[in-house]
């Protein structure tokens, strides 16, 4: 069977599964729609959280980024896992004990302020739309590459599927679909990795193959990689040219941002008990770690495979480079998409792939008769092309396509749900139309989810500039606005309404302003985005950390000079600090 047919079968079967689950898990109350009736087993919730968390970026882009950044890619590996320790120990159990439906609802109640709740909803909606647009785009890219349809067709199919299970099933439908999506995506990610690890090193476990010797030699993979890439003028794989302070700040912003992302936090509202919220965070990280410890191995192996495919012989030798006519089929297929391209600058009919931005390497390159780097490779294709590079059977490639779509859809659904609950529960029921019946609120939630899907699809098709800055915007703003007020709301009895609102606004405006000024989002670029211009040497991707510190400082400062929180709020804080008394008793 040819690849396209196989891919249609794999993707079609996975879609049938998701729709079947949606019909089985239809939500009939707001409790089921928002938090799956708080009856989800902690291990199951951990799996759903992992799918919710691992997006198109984790599945499709991350290993490719690591392949080209080497050690510099560690910020994503540590940053997107370490936040679960903060979630487990600082947030999830207490918010579960509080037992309501949304993150802004907690902020509004704890700071006895509708203003605080509305500021939180605005942060949440902006963060979630930035994030979801990238997912929809990921769905469109996978469709257009593997099913050979237009981007817009892929987007509409993806929107339709999410519509069915998110609008119908709410959190309940999403939870059980995410479990299925996790299974699809993890199998799709690890099978090619195991094959490639075995081919290269004879050790099938990617986590170990990464540190093993290359088949038939005594040379360790990472040593070989370091020597192969430095011979071509690239930076040693296990080092970086980023400053330590920037690596530190980005990693911290990603960790804290993870713990402040509403679509992740609400997953812990769905388990029955406080102790389940704790263990569920652990299970989530186990399931995430399966992919996150595989990804760096995939990145290293892909970089090695790619480099050695092009540099077939000795560097500088006349026949040391791959002849364009003899290039493998996978290169031809990706050339058709425009994501991989070759330009024969020195007219020798062979492909030279090296770092022509490295001034020290110029003389050597000139001696070899090279006239510049001739191969452009989009980082996003590394995971998708990996099975083809390793010459794996077509069904593996079809599986990877289904896995990429599963990763994007599961994250999109989680985001769409928090947007819809932000609108129906926080803005409508909580603020503007408190007299709604439960039936009306449920309908409002469904309408909001449907509207959010349409907007997300539009943003995915016509991505405005801010969509490309998911890392800076979504994580930076979550770190600078939501995370600090939630933490202070639990761990301090003194931080009051005035402090929280001032802190959130300062963190938000500072972080947003910094990113906009350097990245030129919504406004023209005001300061050139280079290291010399950065505040404390911290790039826009890491600036959320400074925003977070400002938020804490302002909140504590303002709270000191204004009236302390009323007695009933202080009692509420004491109550959420102990597990006893949670569960269905405090349900609506």
């Amino acid at each position: 069977m040819d690849l396209t047919t196989l891919t249609y079968i794999a993707v079609g079967l996975s879609f049938a599964l998701y729709i079947g689950i949606a019909i089985w898990a239809k939500a009939s109350t707001t409790g089921e729609f928002y938090v799956a009736g708080k009856g989800v087993n902690p291990v199951v919730n951990g799996m759903a959280t992992a799918a919710d968390w691992m997006s198109a970026a984790s599945f499709i882009s991350m290993a490719g980024l690591i392949a080209f950044l080497g050690y510099g890619g560690s910020v994503y590996l540590m940053g997107w896992t370490g936040g679960y320790c903060l979630l487990a120990m600082l947030l999830a159990p207490y918010l579960r004990k509080y037992g309501k439906f949304t993150v802004p609802e907690f902020i509004g109640d704890r700071y006895y302020s509708k203003t605080a709740r509305i500021v939180a909803v605005i942060c949440l909606i902006f963060i979630s739309f930035t994030y979801v647009a990238g997912q929809m785009r990921g769905v469109g890219i996978v469709f257009s590459r593997f099913l050979e349809v237009e981007l817009i067709t892929g987007l509409i199919v993806g929107m339709g599927i999410v519509f069915i299970y998110a609008v119908l099933g709410g959190m309940k439908g999403i939870t059980y679909t995410q479990v299925a999506q996790y299974c699809v995506l993890i199998v799709a990610y690890t099978i090619p990795a195991i094959f490639i690890a075995f081919q290269l090193t004879g050790n099938p476990l990617p986590q170990l193959a990464f540190g093993s010797t290359i088949n038939g030699t005594g040379e360790f993979m990472l040593e070989r990689l370091n020597s192969v890439v430095t011979e071509l003028g690239f930076l040693e794989y296990t080092t970086t040219n980023k400053s330590t302070i920037d690596i530190f700040a980005i990693t911290l912003a990603l960790m804290v941002g993870t713990a402040g992302l509403p679509h992740v936090i609400v997953r812990f509202f769905t388990v029955p008990k406080v102790r389940d919220a704790r263990s569920s965070a652990g299970w989530a990280l186990v399931f995430i770690a399966l992919l996150y410890t595989t990804a760096p191995a995939v990145g290293a192996m892909a970089r090695l495979n790619l480099t050695e495919t092009i540099q077939t012989g000795e560097v500088g030798a006349e026949d040391g480079n791959l002849s364009y006519e003899e290039r493998p089929d996978w290169m031809k297929r990706w050339e058709a998409t425009g994501l991989l391209s070759f330009e024969d600058k020195n007219g020798d009919g062979r492909i030279q792939y090296y770092n022509d931005a490295n001034a020290d390497f110029q003389t050597k390159a000139a001696q070899y008769g090279w006239a510049g780097n001739e191969l452009q490779v989009d980082r996003d294709i590394m995971v998708l092309a990996n099975p083809e590079i390793a010459q794996l059977p077509n069904w593996v490639i079809a599986l990877v396509a289904a896995g990429g779509i599963a990763a994007a859809l599961s994250t999109a659904a989680g985001l769409l749900l928090v947007i819809s609950s932000g609108v129906s529960h926080d803005l409508l029921k909580g603020t503007f139309t408190p007299n709604m019946t439960e039936g009306q609120e449920l309908m409002a939630g469904r309408v909001a989810a449907a509207a959010a899907i349409v907007i997300a699809g539009y943003l995915g098709y016509n991505p405005p500039g801010f969509v490309a800055q998911v890392v800076a915007f979504a994580f930076g703003l979550a770190a600078a606005s939501l995370f600090p007020v939630i933490i202070m709301g639990i761990f301090s009895k003194k931080v009051n309404r005035e402090g929280a609102i001032a802190g959130m606004l300062v963190g938000l405006i500072f972080t947003m302003g910094y990113i906009m000024a350097y990245k030129g989002i919504f406004i023209p670029v005001m300061i050139e985005n280079v290291e010399a211009n950065w505040l404390f040497g911290i790039s826009p991707e890491g600036i959320g950390v400074v925003g977070m510190l400002l938020n804490f400082a302002v909140a504590f400062g303002v709270s000191k000079v204004t009236a302390e929180p009323p007695a009933h709020i202080q009692h509420m804080i004491e109550d959420i600090r102990v597990p006893k008394g949670a569960g269905s008793a405090v349900d609506h």
Partner: protein, 86 residues
């Protein structure tokens, strides 16, 4: 807040502080601040600092959460603030 719950909260905060100190040391310490020093040590094909940044810290994160879960469940029982078993 009575003495009993104040003591419970103090023990909780102390446990979290200890675990997050380890969290900080393995990721920010071994993986970032001292990565160059640790990279001079090579074990089983990995430079140690690089391994902590791309593998080791993640394994430690998982272990820390399960240690937290076990210790908190014990603490809850000790102070009688655990949830009833259904």
């Amino acid at each position: 807040m009575n003495d009993q719950s104040a003591a419970y909260w103090k023990r909780n905060v102390k446990l979290v502080a200890t675990l997050l100190a380890i969290w900080f040391i393995v990721s920010y310490g071994f993986g970032i601040l001292f990565v160059d020093a640790l990279n001079t040590i090579e074990i089983a094909g990995f430079q140690l600092g690089f391994w902590f940044a791309q593998q080791g810290s993640i394994y430690v994160f998982v272990a820390l959460i399960f240690i937290y879960v076990a210790k908190m469940n014990k603490l809850d029982r000790e102070f009688g603030v655990h949830e009833d078993d259904d």
